[in-house]
Amino acid sequence: MNMAKNLHFHFKKIYKLHIGKIYRFIYIKVNSQQIAEDLTSEVFLRFWKALQKENPSKIENPKAFLYKTARNLIIDHYRTYSQKKEIPIEEVKEIKDTSQSLETQESLSSDLEIVQKAIRQLKEEYQDVVLWYYLDNLSVQEIAEILGKSENAVRVMIHRAMEKLRELLKEV
């Protein structure tokens, strides 16, 4: 009984701390509230199941677990899209937008949309490191752990990603 209580408590703590960030990370990448909500729910459901299977102390870094799972789910989501090729009409528009040049996006009304579009034009790994490092304040070490790369490699990726982002934003 106590164990179950502890698990609930641990999960609630992690959930409260990370739900907003994980949702935002997924939303920026999929650009759909519905999909972001579904994938974020799945991330936390998997975390809960993992907690029940393993002792909480065995999931040494819950943050890394959540981001890794989110990243894998996004990849799976796009893989499924490309296989099925059955995409809801409103999302077709959203995906098509990401391949457009920023020059053609004069109609974008807000800075927020411009940044989102620019981020989505970066390659997958660059998107991840920029969002994690500058928005979610993950350390280079944490990012290295999630991506399974060396800290130096991550530093170089952050640098290159920022250079690319600078170019994309300059075009606006």
Partner: protein
Amino acid sequence: MDEKEIIAKLQLLNQIKPRQEWVRNTRKNILGPQDRWVDFSGVFMIMRQPIFAVGTVTMILLLVLAWFGLLNKPQQDSLELVISEIASDNFYDYNYYLEKASQTLAKVESVPQKNEKLVEETKQALKKAVEKLPSRPKNPQESAKIVEKVKEIEEKLTTLAPEDEELIDATKELKEKTKEMIETEIYRIRVEAELAMLENRTLTEEQQALLEEAKKDYNNQDYLSALEKILQLTNQ
């Protein structure tokens, strides 16, 4: 567009937030019926009802009246002191408290019968001064002024109350905080100079990446980490 501007633009993404209702429901769905979400919105809804709103306003008015009433009663000496201290707390900066500490300390010997109260007042003023010391002085003159004042207090303490341990501790704390502030300032100035120099140097990709991390630390006011990274990259 420089890095600061890009980071500022990235911060706009913080506006993206999930719906609160969805956040609640998702947690409930995952944890099942055992989950209990503490929801205070109902309490606020109740307070919007006219009867509760009138009650709340009346309560606030009574509290304000009680406060003024108490302030005007001379016999409520200690309570008055506490309330006026709380009320005045936000109006004074570290200068006021440094000066107050210095002045009350000067009286410690000249009015021996009131020593206990004066020592307490000095101690409180020192504590407040520590709390309110700026993390970053506006200019070197301000730093110099603070250091001078702290030195003055320390000298007075040595002459007037050299055996009062509580005062010695409070002054030590003030001295430590001042030292920390000055050290941070030195690191900041050094980092700024190093960053300016590095802007004109040709760097390898790894060095450039380290430089960007150092800039991020600098922007987060973590000057020591910034300096460490700069030293690391200059040694590469």
